[in-house]
């Protein structure tokens, strides 16, 4: 028997809301399956399970908000006597497609709560719903039991939820209010399952908490160096000429690979500071800081970057950016990063000295590539130059090792064909 707990998806998470269960009692699951969709202040997360077995019991129902570590479900692990063997398990991947995250509505609809709490739909025939439609329904206080799905196989889509929100209000519904989040539920009406989350305010709050903790607890040291990118950029340009547009690489992929290989050589940069000691990461999972245009940022991990080739890293990065924009990430991506890279891109400025994301111990920053005079071999020429910086945790490493780490990144970027 094993417990499936509300996971801690990063240092800044304290509570999570179970939006949707993708399994029911009796379902067989294997390690890595996505079993539930959880809403945190920062994003909607598809939570993977780390034990194979059969779901015995679901403890926390959909819609409930619980602290990290709360028992969500009980699993009978393989080897134990399985009571109710399932016939066929629906693949989690067959869920309704995830719809694009909407910006928060300027004029949130008034709360619409059915006069009578909807009965729990029978589990096997539960209407399918995309995580984002689910989240939107909570924000708009739409009772999903009353929404007719028009998506594939009757799945409830974002548009269905929006339509339901625009339906004429029930006689008992309160007058329109600008901020449903602060509207106390009238006593006569059933309480909505959870208070809707204002993701903008909430994200600012979690970033504030994590960054304040970092600056309170982590004695940062900072190093920086200029790296000549002419070889890397020339190689990349020639390589991209050979590739169809769908296969082309961005230079950030070279940076990510170089950081991962350097972290392999200087392991004190890769891992966590937990309970007064450094715990090296088992692999190099690089967190990539991706800004969210509406505000805020999130740094999900690309797994095993050092072992992937550049095309694979590029594919992972594209996929990750797409899912950050859509607002849906996986639990392992949120929790696993062992080191973080922030790259300002070409719309940014020349240098960045970042704040370490606890409990990690290092953050590598890259500014934009600029053309600068560069002296080498007694000659001055114009070269594309990038400023690489390291924010290091002085409890886990010293400046000398940090310098070696940055120099290793520089050395690796001089032989791009070997990355």
């Amino acid at each position: 028997m094993a417990d499936f707990l509300m996971p801690s998806l990063g240092a800044d998470m304290e509570v999570g809301t179970v939006l949707q269960w993708l399994v029911k009692p009796g379902d067989a699951v294997k390690r890595g399956d996505i079993v539930a969709v959880v809403d945190t202040e920062k994003a909607t997360i598809e939570v993977e399970i780390f034990q194979s077995g059969v779901i015995q019991r679901i403890v926390v129902p959909e819609g409930e908000k619980v602290p990290v570590g709360t028992l969500l479900a009980v699993i009978v692990t393989n080897g134990e006597g399985v009571v109710a063997a399932p016939e066929a398990k629906p693949k989690p991947a067959e869920r309704a497609p995830v719809v694009i995250a909407p910006p928060p509505p300027a004029q949130p609809a008034p709360p619409r709560i059915a006069a009578k709490p909807a009965p729990e739909p029978a589990a096997p025939h539960r209407a399918r719903i995309s995580p984002l439609a689910m989240r939107l329904a909570m924000e708009l206080k739409v009772n999903l039991a009353t929404v007719k799905g028009t998506g594939p196989e009757g799945a409830v889509t974002k548009a269905d939820v929006e339509r339901a929100a625009k339906a004429p209000p029930l006689p008992t519904a309160a007058a329109p209010v600008p901020k449903p989040i602060e509207e106390p539920a009238p006593a006569a009406l059933p309480k909505p399952a959870v208070a809707p989350i204002d993701h903008h305010t909430a994200m600012r709050k979690v970033i504030a908490a994590a960054m304040a903790r970092s600056k309170r607890e982590i004695p940062h040291y900072y190093l920086g160096t200029h790296i000549d990118m002419s070889k890397a950029m020339a190689w990349l340009q020639a390589e991209n000429l050979k590739r169809p547009v769908t296969e082309r690489l961005l230079y950030s992929v070279l940076l990510l690979k170089a950081v991962a290989l350097a972290a392999d050589e200087i392991p004190e940069m890769n891992g966590f500071w937990i309970d007064g000691a450094f715990k090296p990461g088992e692999a190099v999972h690089v967190g990539v800081a991706i800004s969210i245009r509406q505000g805020g940022l999130i740094a999900p991990a690309i797994h095993d970057v050092g072992k992937k080739n550049l095309s694979e890293i590029m594919a992972s990065l594209r996929d990750l950016v797409k899912r950050v924009r859509a607002g849906v990430l996986r639990s392992s991506e949120i929790a696993d990063a062992t080191i973080t890279v922030t790259s300002l891109g070409n719309e940014g400025v020349e240098s960045v000295f970042g704040v370490i994301y606890p409990p990690q111990v290092a953050l590598v920053g890259f500014g934009k590539i600029v053309e600068r005079p560069w002296a080498s071999g007694g000659m001055v020429g114009a070269r594309p130059v990038i400023m690489a910086s390291l924010s290091g945790d002085h409890r886990a490493s010293d400046g000398h090792r940090g310098a070696l780490f940055l120099n290793t990144i520089e050395r690796l970027l001089q032989v791009p064909e070997k990355l």
Partner: protein, 81 residues
């Protein structure tokens, strides 16, 4: 492909890349990197979508020509006629 078809394609893909942007407020003459903060990944995704819909392979060096709606229409017209 007509100009209107190109515009529709461009805006549809822009909506996929930047769902928070109000498409009716996009200024067709202004570079989207400045206008709505598109980054290099977004521009690449635009190029891929246009390639997949039109078959035109856009070399990397030409990306800067297609970073506004008007620029993209003019560029594709020059490449397809």
């Amino acid at each position: 492909m007509t100009d209107d078809e190109i515009k529709t394609l461009f805006l549809r893909e822009l909506h996929r890349i930047a769902p928070e942007v109000e498409l009716s407020e996009v200024d067709p003459a202004v570079d989207l990197r400045e206008q709505i903060d598109l980054d290099s990944m977004d521009i690449l995704n635009l190029a891929i979508a246009i390639h997949e819909a039109t078959g035109v392979d856009i070399p990397e060096a030409d990306y800067p020509q297609m970073t506004s709606l008007n620029g993209c229409v003019a560029y594709l017209r020059s490449r397809t006629s």
